[in-house]
Symmetry: C2
């Protein structure tokens, strides 16, 4: 399209993802021009140490982020990560009417409201497909394809590191510490794995998914978060014995109580049946299950991280934003009109799997069962197996409030006939 | 949003899908208004026999399609199906600047070029998510999320009827005719099942997928099409013996030969490994596997048909189109700039599984193998099993051109030592 004014892009950050963005922008320049209706031109790349980036054109590198953002660029692409200074840069860009494409889940999970308001005031676009589940087109379907439906549940594996570790524990029977070490050695876990193994990364993604699915502002602080450090080889073995496997799940649910809707949003390990579509998602892959009133069940599966997959998502957004510039259009804005409240975890409805070592004498089951009854928790299945001198007792509950289930477990742990609470884990993905 | 002028919608057709569209528009009116930024108002429903539609408001029904399309509506939603008169109606709507949402795969697979041109000339939108894979958000990801990537392959199960029949044959061992009868009885196959079982429906969808994935105009006539009527219990048994299952696949491939790209697009039954993600897609579900250079492998899974799922996809498009009206924006236009040629089926690269009944005497394998060598087809695996008086010989080839494989099979069928060609089927979904 000769004569069409190019869409000028500022890239903030040039790590694994940024380098891939530069490569795709260069390799696919002709295709992108045809798809956008105008050339897409990289105007500058902001980095901290220009001499460390020999793989990108030196003349584009700058350390002056503010000058780059304030220059005549049309779009700012941010792949730096972290809340500050990314927040300040992107607010500046949006206020100046520049559209923003970002892969920054932490920032979106904290400050999406502020960013959307700035975008809206200036008529700019804010896209962030790469922030959740890497290359898997997931946010656009939630924001747009399902915009005419009522989403009831989003449940997914959105963190590759923890999925790699849990898949490994499941296949080798090894413990958590040992498997984490292996994951670190292979480069699947970072030197400081906290953000992944403690569920912070997944919680940010859960907040973003819940916001979009339920048209409400949900931040990372609203998300109940439990990591995988407490998952033991015994938990995995217990799951196996029941035809289940353990996954770290991000769960966003619409809960309707007496006609009033609220949201439960949480990240925790859970047993799911091996027949569930998410059970087969192994290693560094991500997958997200979505349920909507009219559409029914859907699953989205693909690579959740990595330079090239994440860059693919960034480029898809960049094409959308650039097309909007060309036709003077606008992408979808924030949709938070429903403003549903987030319920505390204690009020969430869950099911527990509890595995106990108990004394092998008469009356044990009745004592344990009495505690469940007392807390109004109904039992779905029991398996008791005698051993030489003690017995193992496995109980799976029906759905109850998480608070009732926790109190039940606490009280059972204190019963004299209970030698050890071997494993306590939530159960998901089953018909109630 | 009080005071905002409503977006007026004309609905053409009120069968299973149309009725659900009306229901969702009514039930979710408040949500839709909030999501769109203006009320979405049903202005009229065109049907042939108004007295047969007691489930929708009588005052909206009309038999005069032209008057409805020519009235002051903003969007025309078409769920009638078939090429004419839908084509004439939608061209008229688009030419008058009205945006169109359609679920009509046959029409899109034949006339998308003409429709897009009319939309473009008038600045109107053309959306058709519901035309392929029902409720699964698939076209929007292809058109938008992956717009910055290079898609290399789309392979999917896009017809529920044939998948129901093949799943049934696989689980019961019954033959095709018997299983089709069962599917008809249960309502999974229509009285005249031709469009499904002969692959016409899947071929229309393949054409649409190939057009979007490869930025080229591909019509149903370009698609090589084989249905499932020739799939025998012997084929299914042969597949099972090799840890495979048989699926009707729609396959769209980018083929690069000496730096020049072309497209292979085809619908045919094929064996896939039971470990492949598509192998677990049973019954009336659809799933589509997409491979792109940067994003890697992705899968989209969900309900492929039915009133509510299809209506969900229609509503998602309607919200997008209505939002575009509100912000004076535009959705993505036709992207056919690449104009890649479609290669004839004979030039497609495929692998065959061939099962033969042969005489049990020395030299049989060498005679058969010689025919493969003669056609330059290399053999990946052979399994020979002697029986009382004859033997079974199973051969799986490496990839070769379909023409070479066909000639090989023809010639082998004529060898005196070959008593019967028991099963010939393509093999997909394996590493080459």
């Amino acid at each position: 399209m000769p004569g069409r004014k190019p869409i000028k892009v500022a890239l903030l950050g040039c790590g694994t993802v940024g380098t891939e963005v530069v490569r795709l922008l260069t390799d696919q320049a002709a295709d992108l021009t045809a798809r956008v209706g105008a050339p897409v031109e990289l105007a500058g790349i902001a980095v901290r140490k220009p001499n460390k980036h020999r793989e990108v054109p030196a003349e584009l590198l700058t350390t002056d982020v503010d000058a780059l953002v304030e220059s005549d660029v049309d779009v700012v692409v941010e792949v730096v990560g972290g809340i500050e200074p990314a927040r300040t840069w992107l607010l500046k860009a949006l206020k100046a009417g520049k559209s923003v494409v970002t892969a920054n889940k932490a920032l979106l999970a904290e400050h999406s409201g502020e960013l959307f308001e700035a975008a809206d005031a200036a008529g700019a676009d804010l896209y962030f497909e790469a922030a959740v589940a890497g290359a898997i087109p997931l946010l656009r379907p939630l924001r747009e394809s399902l915009a005419g439906d009522r989403i009831t549940r989003v449940m997914g594996i959105v963190n590759g590191t923890t999925n790699f570790i849990l898949s490994g524990m499941d296949s080798t029977g090894a413990g958590y510490a040992e498997t984490l070490e292996e994951a670190t050695r292979l480069g699947y876990a970072e030197a400081d794995p906290t953000a992944d193994v403690d569920g912070f990364d997944a919680a940010s993604k859960a907040a973003i998914l819940a916001s979009l699915a339920f048209h409400s502002r949900v931040t990372a602080a609203d998300v109940h978060r439990e990591g995988i450090a407490g998952v033991s080889a015994a938990d995995i073995a217990a799951a196996k014995g029941l035809g289940r496997t353990v996954k770290l799940l991000a769960i966003c649910e619409r809960v309707t109580d007496n006609g009033t809707d609220s949201i439960s949003v949480r990240v925790h390990p859970a047993m799911i049946p091996r027949s569930h579509p998410l059970a087969g998602v192994n290693g560094a892959f991500n997958a997200v299950f979505v349920e909507a009133d009219a559409a029914g069940e859907m699953m989205f599966y693909g690579k959740g991280a990595g330079g090239a997959p994440t860059a693919s998502a960034v480029l898809g957004d960049l094409v959308a934003v650039a097309r909007n510039k060309v036709v003077s259009g606008r992408g979808p804005r924030e949709s938070a009109y429903a403003a549903l409240p987030v319920r505390p975890m204690g009020h969430a409805s869950t099911k527990y799997h509890i595995s106990l070592d108990v004394a092998d004498k008469p009356g044990v089951l009745s004592q344990v069962a009495a505690v469940f009854a007392e807390h109004d928790v109904s039992i779905a299945a029991v398996r008791q197996e005698g051993r030489v001198d003690d017995a193992s007792l496995v109980i799976v509950t029906h759905a109850a409030t998480d608070a009732a289930l926790r109190s039940t477990v606490d009280k059972i742990g204190g019963l004299p006939v209970v030698r050890e609470v071997v494993s306590v884990m939530r159960v998901e993905g089953e018909e109630s």
